[in-house]
């Protein structure tokens, strides 16, 4: 289903697939086995298979695919295990080891088999049927949207059908478009094969294949152009109603369906253009190459020419007018002046400025404080710091302690007390005595 929920962030999905190391490894025998199961379930309307049935069927498949294989029962056991690991088969009985299991094909297995079995290419009939049903469905949804009078009504009558029925129908068209793409590739390969095998005799068959595909594409494109226009108009009407009732969920759902429908319409135009190019190319080829060389002798003659070319070379001649030369205007050679600037006395005379020697200042201030009889480091610092610029107070406390230690005898208690100095600093205090003191 292409109607991915809004939360399905591609990056997250890819990361989670990579984290789980998801992979598929199906051998021919596995695919044949799955196809056999699918067809038997379809024919006998079976929802699940008993283990014995699985093994019997595998043995039958093995007889066809690999007739000489030894020990098919053992191979069946491995195949069932392999398919279970790859989520192709699911055990559905829940009986564990109590009895033999019962198995069903998973959605993944059904999709894989359907891909190989289904021949779902878009035809005029299938497209007309699908678009007609889709249009009726959209009209119903629109009528429901007009009547919807609450959140619940919008959810069940509008959003639900849009997400399931309408989206399924749109996806059905898209799936058949992909089928037609594959058919076109087959037609292209078929034309090449026909010409390789029959050359001139194949011209008419190639022409009819080309014409048939061209008319199919043109018809489909016309239907798509006409009907998608109606779909979008209906969807836009539903979206307008959703916007009016401020139902963001319905609005987003309609938007996703509109984008999907746009993609379908774009497919028709793109394929018709691409096919048109191919058609013209092949048409020219049939006319200029095949019809003019009915015996297909030219390729062989050209091959011989190429093989013999080194011994007898020849060269094609082509016109070769050189580009027009634009000559520059004549100008006398100009001497570029040397880089210079006016002479000037750039050395300024030195000026007398006040000396800046904080260290000397600190030593002198400390000596003066000591002379004045300060007896603790805190007291000395308290006196010296105001004389110094405030920005260096923190650094200066260390220098003051050093100067005090140099100029006086200092003593400290084992647990040195912290003493405040000014408003913002504290120092671990010492008692200070002049060196000449007794």
């Amino acid at each position: 289903m292409t109607d991915a929920p809004p939360s399905a962030d591609p990056n997250r999905v890819i990361a989670s697939l990579a984290r789980d190391q998801v992979n598929l490894d199906l051998k021919t025998v596995d695919l044949c086995f799955l196809a056999g199961l699918y067809l038997r379930a379809d024919k006998a309307a079976l929802a699940s298979f008993e283990e014995d049935v699985l093994i019997d069927l595998f043995e039958q498949v093995c007889d066809v695919v690999d007739p000489g294989a030894e020990n098919p029962r053992k191979r069946a056991t491995h195949a069932i295990q392999r398919l279970r690991e790859q989520r192709m088969l699911a055990r559905v009985d829940g009986a564990g080891i109590v009895r033999a299991g019962e198995y069903a094909l998973t959605r993944l297995a059904a999709a894989v088999v359907e891909y190989f079995l289904a021949d779902e290419a878009l035809t005029r009939e299938s497209l007309t049927l699908l678009t007609g049903t889709l249009r009726a469905q959209l009209a119903e949804v629109l009528a429901a949207a007009k009547k919807a009078d609450g959140e619940e009504a919008w959810r069940t009558k509008v959003v639900g059908p849009l997400r399931v029925t309408v989206a399924d129908l749109v996806a059905g068209i898209e799936r058949r478009q992909r089928g037609l793409d594959a058919q076109q590739e087959e037609v292209q390969a078929e034309i090449a094969k026909l010409l390789s095998a029959d050359w001139f005799s194949a011209v008419d068959r190639c022409q009819s294949l080309l014409d048939a595909t061209t008319s199919t594409l043109r018809e489909l494109n016309e239907i798509l152009l006409r009907d998608t226009h109606h779909f979008v108009a209906l969807l836009q009407e539903i979206q307008a109603l959703a916007t009016a009732t401020e139902n963001t969920d319905a609005e987003a759902t309609v938007q996703r369906v509109i984008e999907h429908v746009d993609r379908i319409a774009a497919w028709g135009g793109a394929r018709q253009r691409a096919w048109s190019e191919y058609y013209q190319y092949v048409h020219r080829y049939l006319r200029d190459v095949v019809r003019l060389d009915p015996d297909r002798a030219l390729s062989q003659r050209l091959r011989d020419q190429l093989a013999g070319w080194p011994r007898r070379p020849f060269h094609l001649v082509t016109a070769h007018a050189p580009s027009i030369r634009l000559l520059r205007a004549l100008e006398a050679r100009v001497e570029r002046p040397p880089v210079a600037r006016p002479r000037a006395e750039r050395e300024a005379d030195p000026e007398w400025v006040d000396p800046e020697n904080v260290l000397a200042d600190i030593d002198a201030l400390v000596a003066r404080a000591l002379d004045e009889g300060k007896t603790t480091l805190a007291a000395v610092s308290e006196q010296v710091l105001p004389e110094l610029p405030e920005t260096i107070h923190y650094a200066a406390t260390g220098r003051i302690a050093h100067a005090v230690a140099q100029a006086a005898r200092v003593r400290s208690e084992r647990e040195r007390p912290w003493a405040p100095v000014g408003e913002r600093l504290e120092v671990e205090d010492w008692s200070v005595a002049r060196r000449d003191a007794p």
Binding site: Q188, A189, I191, A192, K193, L195, S196, E277, Y278, Q280, Y281, V282, R284, Y285, D288, V289, A297, L298, S299, R301, L302, R303, D304, Q305, L306, A307, W309, P310, R312, P313, F314, H315, L316, V317, T318, A319, H320, A321, P322
Partner: protein, 228 residues
């Protein structure tokens, strides 16, 4: 003439397409149906332009495969003969053009297919010796690289001349003008006689390549090796 949009040469030359088409033709480009309106213009103005170009000593040639080109017959317009590598690549591409397998993809083929077919038809040794005739001994790896480089350069030139479209680094689209390479063997007559006829018409020159005539610029890398 009566069906033409243009009634006088003046009208044909005054058309918006003329300058571009004229430059393309003079530079040796083969203008085909794939060129869209340029081709349509030439079809429309053909009867007026033929005598116009004859005055320059050239012939405006239209081939039944659906392309035009200018063939210098005198000395008034510069001309160039294709190099050995261009000739080999052109003939191989013509062969691929004729192959129904190429038809499956609308004339688009991978570059590798060209090299494979070229070496398959001539053999690697003959290919190397043809493209580097002066070398007596060669290292296989260097030679292969040289061949690839020369083929790449030849493709670029053939693309400029309208023989092939280089879609991207890996893919080429073949154009009907490639059938010029098959002209000597197109009829049922003896190829040598056909070749002589083409030589007489000035379509083809025999013998080793002489380079450009009339002093046209040519930055061909003939005989050069790629930088190590």
């Amino acid at each position: 003439m009566t069906d033409s949009t243009f009634h006088t040469l003046e009208a044909a030359l005054a058309d918006d397409h003329f300058p571009e088409v004229d430059l393309m033709l003079r530079r040796g480009r083969h203008i085909g149906r794939d060129d869209g309106t340029a081709y349509d213009y030439l079809v429309d103005a053909q009867s007026l332009l033929e005598p116009f170009y004859r005055r320059f000593g050239c012939e405006l040639v239209q081939q039944s495969d659906g392309y035009f080109y200018l063939l210098p017959s005198g000395d008034r317009l510069g001309r160039r003969q294709l190099s050995a590598c261009e000739m080999l690549v052109g003939q191989t591409l013509a062969l691929l053009y004729l192959d129904p397998a190429t038809l499956q993809h609308g004339g688009v083929l991978p570059r590798e297919a060209l090299l494979q077919r070229l070496s398959g038809l001539l053999g690697t040794d003959a290919l190397v010796r043809t493209l580097s005739p002066r070398k007596r001994k060669y290292d296989e790896r260097i030679a292969a690289e040289t061949v690839r480089t020369q083929v790449g350069e030849a493709l670029r030139r053939l693309s400029e001349l309208g023989f092939v479209d280089v879609l991207d680094e890996a893919r080429l689209r073949l154009r009907p003008a490639l059938m010029r390479f098959a002209e000597p063997v197109r009829g049922l007559s003896d190829p040598n006689v056909a070749l002589e006829r083409l030589v007489a018409r000035g379509e083809v020159l025999l013998g080793e390549q002489n380079g450009d005539e009339n002093g046209a610029d040519d930055d061909a890398t003939e005989g050069e090796e790629p930088a190590p």
